[in-house]
Amino acid sequence: MAATATGIHHRSYTSELRLRATRAEYVRLGLMTVLLLVLPFVLDNFWLSQANLILIAVIGAVGLNILVGYTGQISLGQGGFLAVGAYSSAILSDRIGLPTPLAILVAVLLTAAVGTFFGLPGLRLKGLYLAIATLASQMIIEFVIRRWDWLTLDQGYLNVERLSFFGFEIGGREVFEQQWYWVLLVLAGLAVLTARNLFRTGLGRSFMAVRDQDIAAEAIGVNIPRAKLTAFAVSSAFVGLAGALTAHYSEVVSWEKFTLDVSILYLAMIIVGGLGSIAGAVYGAIFMTLLPELIRQLSLGVDDTLPFLADQLPAVRNAVFGLVIILFLILEPRGLDRIWQRIKDYFRFWPFRY
């Protein structure tokens, strides 16, 4: 267990309800805000695009963590739900002509509905059975987006128009990444804040009760079927937003972006970051998005000494991916979040050990 903040005595309910209590926490928040605001001015376009991908992944990972980490319902259907968000938002805005913000909103609601539908088996099933059921949902959605030609007007892929809302349009190449960064930063920030606060409400706490001991939860009056389905709906809504943003950001939608590998990648994010931790989902999204790029840079670095590494890049990448998952689960099942907690504890208690 992470150490509780000793020496903090609350004198009112409002102080106890605050998200951050100590000065150190406010300082960290301030530093992080400064960093996030400065980032687009110091990074070049390539790294800024990585940052944008991370911000989208943060939204998706937070969504998945609500379902898996907080409600204990494993889902291998993330890729499929991302696809629902992406396709519906692209089609609604470009073909049907809805204003983009409205199209994204409808896509989010639609994904929540589809997610809830595929969550129905979860009412009777737990653990591995649910994993298999969501695997099936992934396969079925993937089949639909590959085969239903109406979605892409027989092209196999969909081009999406440049994002514009309220008369503002994302600019060309030089400012493209930077403007997207601000849009995504606001949305990702809102998503994190919403999720963080969700678990301070009765609804969020009922999710955790279902995860920890479903029968006991039922005994104290939690409506289990409703909690489970709401968890699927809320989580899929986040995922739908991530999917819609993927579509508008990359400006092209095709089924390759929504395969089972994507579901697994997102699961890896929340495992590596820390199950049942919003901050963990953020760390995991950063780590897993940057990992392939880091491996690429590393293999370029050792190109002269170990040339086979560069030749086998895709294989090396997959091997590292698998190894990272295995090692985290064996060595630190609670992920990066727990490691960060331990570092903080070390400094808080120094020079004592505990």
Binding site: L120, L125, I140, L267, A319, V324, I325, I326, L329
Partner: protein, 290 residues
Amino acid sequence: MSTFINQLAYGLADGSILALAALGFVLIYKATGVINFAQGEFLLVGAYMFYTAFVVMDLPLVVAVLFGVVVATLIGVLVERLILRPMVGENPISIIMVTIGLSSLLKALVQAFYGTSPRSQPNLLPRGSVDILGASVPINRLAAIVIAAIVLTAFTVFFRKSRHGIAMRAVADDQQAAMTMGISVRRIFALAWALAAVSALIAGVLVGDISAVDNNIAAFGLLVFPVVILGGLDSVPGTIIGGLTIGLLKQFTAGYLDPGLATVIPYIVLVLILLVRPYGIFGETRIERV
């Protein structure tokens, strides 16, 4: 009619290989309670191990088979020892995830050593075809059915009659009680993984012989789920029924309706079974309800 016989033979051949793959999966689940998402990669590794021994090292067939069995056993035991044992007591999500990580690792290793292009190996099963009721059925498919049937029977007899088989069933039934009776649960876990790897090896070699030795072999891994859900997650006879049913269903859908639909039909069936009868045809009805 002749098309029907043909479809039947192809479906049964696919189905019996699927049953072999699912057998390993059920063994692991029954004995250790682990859902192994890396089962398809076990087929892949098995097929490549055999290919290495038979083609690259040019060993005689029998030695190559033995080599494959030894390596498969070793891999099974190592996986159990290094990856699954530290995970004992973790929640199902973590255990599922660790096998997913394993599948990614195994696939990457095979890719690093052998690349992605398909390898051909000299035919093991007889080629040519026989005439059955006006349909020409390839002999290698029939041979695959026969081999799978022999292996599955051997495994079933092993469970029913042999000391180790009975010990495995005891562990699956009640670990604590089995321990009290002096059965080494650790050894049984290792045995389950080893046997699963061996049955996957046989399935992998059969697929490799019928089509080609390449990365697609791993695709069988996910099809295992419809099979075991249909047959029952903890039932050995269930894998046979489930495997054959899914094999035939896929083949008939591909032959009579739409080849694209055939790839997804097992999963549609899977969802339906989960909704109606989650424990499958032969599975134990021990699912916790909420």
